[in-house]
């Protein structure tokens, strides 16, 4: 996971917390089950607080709208439609269309219907893997190819589910970045659980320094530092959620075709692109290629780091 380098940690608080660090402000809040950080260059505390507030509100809006763990949103309605077609709003439609493009471009490896498999897989660092029968039973309810998607209307066989978690966080980062850019000329950095967007050079032509965690020592040391001015950045990997099986470490990203975690993938893939969404999609697609991740990335013409 990539995270911005900053020395201080803030005490736990409700709502966004704002700290002054060197010559910028750092706002922190929790959203989408991840620690979220918004860094704002400059000396204006009120402005920074207002920007962090905007960021937190947008992050929570997106979480409420697209979380599959809630019962009061459209995703819940889609997942419990029992085969009935569901019409969705423009934003949801665009997000689903984006996911459909990813599915098509990855020949089915990126699939928003693969979340069902998580019922049988527990990535808690332990060594239990599900039986093949259970995996196969799940696979019958997986596959974007079984979904009918047109005219903003989605029809899916009963028992299938969609989960936009794979792109929702990156989408939220870019959305927030867009909102902040419309509000301020200051440089900022939006980091939601390691997926981030840096919005321009800081004062004095300085960049934002982003450390890449060593996947073997999460949270301990920022070993590698990337200097970014304006770019989206995302990391895919197994540093936090995995299962140990027959001496192999299986990360939480599942291959929707086999129902098993992707084998032979690098521990972590970091990609820099124009937007966080693009970076996140490419790093996920690369990870899904397993041992071929590096070759895949070289073909994409993006900057990347494999650890």
């Amino acid at each position: 996971m990539a995270r911005a380098i900053h020395p201080a940690a803030s005490p736990p608080r409700r709502g966004p917390a704002l700290d002054r660090i060197e010559d910028y402000f750092a706002g922190r809040f929790e959203a989408m089950a991840s620690p979220c950080t918004v860094l704002v260059d400059g000396d204006d505390r009120d402005e920074a607080a207002a920007l962090v507030e905007i960021a937190a509100r947008e992050a929570l809006r997106i979480e409420r709208k697209f979380s599959r763990y809630r019962t009061d949103n459209l995703i819940h309605e889609i997942n419990h439609a029992n085969g009935r077609p569901v019409e969705v709003d423009e934003e949801t439609a665009q997000l689903i269309s984006y996911a459909a493009t990813c599915w098509e471009m990855s020949a089915g490896l990126f699939d928003i219907t693969s979340g069902v498999l998580r019922r049988v897989w527990k990535f808690d660092g332990g060594s239990r893997v599900p039986g093949q029968k259970a995996v196969e039973a799940c696979l019958e309810r997986v596959g974007w190819g079984r979904v009918t998607w047109q005219d903003r209307t989605l029809s899916m066989p009963a028992g299938m589910e969609i989960d936009l978690g794979g792109i929702g966080k990156e989408y939220a980062v870019d959305r927030v970045a867009g909102l902040l850019a419309a509000q301020t000329a200051r440089s900022f950095l939006v980091n939601f659980g390691g997926d981030l967007f840096a919005g321009g050079l800081r004062r004095g032509h300085r960049t934002w320094g982003v450390g890449i965690d060593d996947p073997g020592r999460t949270g301990q040391a920022a070993l590698y530092r990337l200097d970014v001015a304006r770019a989206g950045l995302a990391t895919s990997g197994d540093s936090r959620r995995y299962v140990q099986w027959r001496g192999q470490r299986l990360g939480h990203i599942l291959n929707p075709k086999t129902g098993w975690p992707v084998a032979g993938a690098p521990r972590s893939v970091t990609v820099v692109a124009r937007t966080c969404l693009e970076a996140g999609t490419i790093s996920t697609l690369a990870y899904l290629q397993g041992p071929e991740a590096r070759i895949f990335l070289e073909q994409q013409g993006v900057q990347f780091w494999i650890l």
């Binding site: 984006y98 493009t101 032509h205 124009r274 994409q300 013409g301």
Partner: protein, 429 residues
């Protein structure tokens, strides 16, 4: 850790292009929280500002390596004025030839930091070094009416043993319905040289040093005329004269004291150069715009009061590919004569000369450069990437006719091969 290629492949990936478009389409949808589309709002906010970021890597075969990122920001104003600032940082590591000769037996030397190094027999003595340089440049351009434009610039840079502060000014006028441009300008630099470990006395064994900083003042004048001959052809002539005064010696360079009978180096003495130098140069350049392509040719003649004369011929051809892509091959030939006081070694039996240097850059030199630039876009993004690679072969005057004894068996200035690659990226924000 494996590093990815710095953002370029032979062809843009179709997958990435499609994902990029899909991501943009998604991000352009107005969400409930905003009235304005996110990306366009950010982009439209300041289209007149541009930031360029370039990282340079430079390597000489087992000698010097330089990594140099540069950021340049430009602001354009409605009335034609522009302000720009550039920040560059160099990190230099490697070894540079000290000027001493290779010998048949092992030589020992001290470096600027006082460390003793041993040199294997027959290899060219060199000094290991590591240096950082930071430079800041500012430029203000202002049009005065429709004919005259002035440019004013300031410059400051600092490294471990060198500081440079300078100003430049330039006025250009466009005459004859812009067919003729006349430019006049000048610059002044006030530099300081403060070698690590003090400044050695010239032509000494280096043990006598002065701790004071040495000043170096440079005054430069230039005059240029550029004429549009036809719609496709432009021709320019530029002349420049530069006066340098002060400490012009290279404090870390040495010259071998040679036994005239055996040719073996006996000891080393420090470099010593005159304290004034006047440089004069004339550059004739021309560009011709073919139907699609552009050809450039230039010739430069240079002479200075140290006795160096040089001729440079430079040819470039830009071939436009589809879209805004282009490729530009480049060839450059450079030849210079040696400075009057250039020597490959001083006889230990004779009285030392007043000035002497063994710095290969002041010796007879021929350089051939072959290179190409390639500019391209990634996806629909208007930002442009620029990749430039150059191969430089530099050959000195190998074994001078005066070489005797063992020294003639060594190539005193073997050809140096250099490869430079520059990747640039520019975008609007």
């Amino acid at each position: 850790m494996q590093l990815g290629p710095a953002g370029f492949t032979s062809s843009t990936s179709a997958l990435r292009e499609r994902l990029g478009k899909a991501a943009l389409a998604l991000l352009l949808v107005p969400s409930a929280a905003m009235a304005e589309p996110a990306v366009t709002a950010a982009a439209a906010a300041a289209a007149a500002n541009q930031v360029d970021y370039t990282a340079l890597y430079y390597g000489e075969q087992s000698r010097v390596q330089v990594y140099e990122p540069i950021v340049r920001a430009t602001r354009l104003f409605g009335d034609g004025q522009s302000l720009s600032a550039q920040l560059g940082i160099d990190v230099i590591t490697g070894a540079s030839p000290s000027g001493a000769r290779p010998s048949g037996s092992v030589q020992t030397m001290t470096t600027a930091s006082g460390r003793v190094v041993n040199v294997p027999a027959g290899s060219i003595p060199s000094v290991r070094f590591q240096d950082h340089r930071a430079g800041l440049d500012g430029e203000w351009q202002k049009p005065w009416g429709k004919i005259v434009t002035s440019t004013f610039g300031v410059h400051a840079s600092r490294e471990k043993d060198y500081q440079s502060l300078g100003i430049t000014g330039k006025v250009s006028a466009e005459l004859m319905q812009r067919l003729l441009t006349v430019t006049a300008g000048g610059g002044y630099n006030d530099d300081s040289v403060f070698p690590v470990g003090g400044t050695p006395v010239g032509l000494s064994d280096g043990s006598e040093v002065s701790k004071r900083a040495n000043s170096k003042r440079v005054t430069n004048l230039l005059l240029g005329v550029s004429r549009v001959l036809t719609r496709r052809w432009i021709l320019s002539l530029d002349g420049s004269r530069t006066l340098e005064k002060g400490y012009l010696t290279e404090p870390y360079k040495v010259i071998s004291l040679v036994d005239p009978f055996s040719g073996e180096p006996q000891a080393e003495v420090t470099d010593n150069r005159p304290s004034t130098r006047t440089r004069t140069s004339a550059l004739l350049s021309s560009a011709y715009h073919f139907t699609h392509d552009i050809g450039y040719a230039s010739y430069r003649y240079y002479r200075d009061t140290w006795g160096i004369r040089s001729n440079t011929l430079d040819l470039k051809y830009r071939h436009d590919l589809e879209g805004d892509w282009y490729i530009e091959p480049h060839i450059r030939y450079y030849r210079q004569s040696a400075a009057d006081f250039f020597t490959t070694g001083i006889s230990s039996f004779l009285a030392p000369p007043e000035f002497a240097t063994s710095d290969y850059r002041l010796g007879r030199l021929t350089t051939l450069t072959l290179g190409a630039s390639f500019a391209f876009h990634v996806g629909d993004n208007p930002s442009q990437w620029n990749l430039r690679a150059e191969y430089i072969r530099q050959a000195g005057d190998s074994s001078p006719p005066s070489s005797t004894g063992t020294k003639s068996s060594f190539d005193l200035s073997p050809p140096i091969n250099t490869v430079t690659a520059v990747l640039g990226y520019s975008f609007n924000f």
